[in-house]
Symmetry: C2
Subunit: 239 residues, 2 copies
């Protein structure tokens, strides 16, 4: 499950070659142009994932122990919902029904969601923070390769405001207050990134691409993992 | 619990005199100018209620049996959240913290929410439809009496799009498919309106107004109940 994660650590040559963010983006762009799904499957997949991020964040808002946390989380939930709605609107502009276009991805994504059950509120926060971030990053990168004028807009929407900086402050507080929370969350973070990367990877397959060429996917995942590590570091957690 | 509701039915004279919507609004405006709370308590109360409407609607979206219903409900949830956020933003513009300003109302409203537990998804839909509608109506009317330039904006925000027409279509379908569902929902609707009116009434007291003059409140509640009956009729339910 953690193979993507470990590979990055054990592949210093590849990582070093791709150190520059500029270089990495260029390289990812080239690869993703080949990997990217057709635009309708892409829109359906992203619309459904953002709906899931909205729902997980709303659940966290509902369970918030105080109104400050509830504000932060409902704000982040609203931003994920806005992203979902922008994708749903684009699907409608193409005279398709969002529910129909999302349907093929629902079962696969729900399987992921059902498997990843947070044991408590802090674990739910970390899920929102890490998975929401990873999915936004991944599909925003993928958008650049979508051969459609909406590709650039999609990348902009996904890399726009997420409200998750506020979620990070809630996590930082919990970790500061209890070091054991940090230890448990570090483990949970590893579990989450492993599973999220599997979903990201599966989504390429689901969207009718033949993605068997590890070399093409590698740089994309290398960047995702690097961003993930930065998020974990930012919280003071060992990735 | 159903006294407000019954009173309307047994007060045909009052109802007839107030039949014209224009007239009713004018009359309500006069009374509400006296009843309306100070603007900060008003903003906190409405911000918290809309947050609750958003949460109930999100819960309904999470439990939706299909993606069409999930779309309709997440859309309505987003609109309630937008309303909440506009009120929270106004609180911040006045250099106050939404969490602090909402706090005094949280406990009282939570007591209401905890008491009104839907037995199933259809009951949750009816709660979203009726209570969301009633609260928007009530606080939009109350806004006209708030002695603050934001009053008009507040009324506009609250009477704006709610996405609940879509929720009504889901209820209509459920009722059409099973007449027993309609019978049970009619009972539940009566329960909901009774409790919502109690919350509306309590909120006048909570916001430091001395509202002991039944004559002043009567027309406001008469209109709320009349709109409630229209909503029930629209669903084919006996109010």
């Amino acid at each position: 499950m953690f193979s993507w994660f470990r590979r990055r650590r054990s592949a210093p040559t590849e990582a070093r070659r791709l150190r520059s963010r500029e270089e990495l983006s260029e390289s990812a762009k080239v690869d993703l142009a080949e990997l990217a799904p057709g635009v309708i499957p892409y829109l359906g997949l992203v619309a459904y994932l953002e709906l899931e991020v909205y729902q997980a964040t709303s659940r966290a808002a509902a369970d918030a122990p105080d109104l400050v946390a509830k504000e932060i989380l409902s704000n982040a939930a609203g931003m994920a919902l806005n992203k979902h709605q922008e994708f749903a609107a684009e699907i409608r502009r193409r005279h398709r029904e969002p529910a129909v276009v999302m349907q093929p991805y629902a079962a696969a994504i729900d399987r992921f969601v059902d498997r990843v059950t947070p044991a408590n509120w802090n674990e739910l926060l970390l899920l929102v923070y890490l998975c929401g971030g990873l999915f936004d990053d991944f599909f925003s990168q993928l958008a650049r390769g979508v051969t459609d004028p909406f590709g650039d807009t999609a990348a902009e929407i996904l890399s726009g405001e997420s409200g998750r900086a506020g979620v990070a402050t809630l996590l930082e507080r919990a970790i500061r207050e209890n070091p054991r929370t940090g230890d448990r969350l570090a483990l949970w973070g590893r579990r989450l990134v492993g599973d999220s990367l599997l979903v990201a990877r599966a989504s390429l397959v689901l969207s009718d691409n033949e993605v068997n060429d590890e070399k093409k996917i590698e740089p994309v995942f290398t960047e995702l993992i690097s961003t993930h590590i930065k998020r974990m570091d930012g919280l003071g957690l060992t990735a």
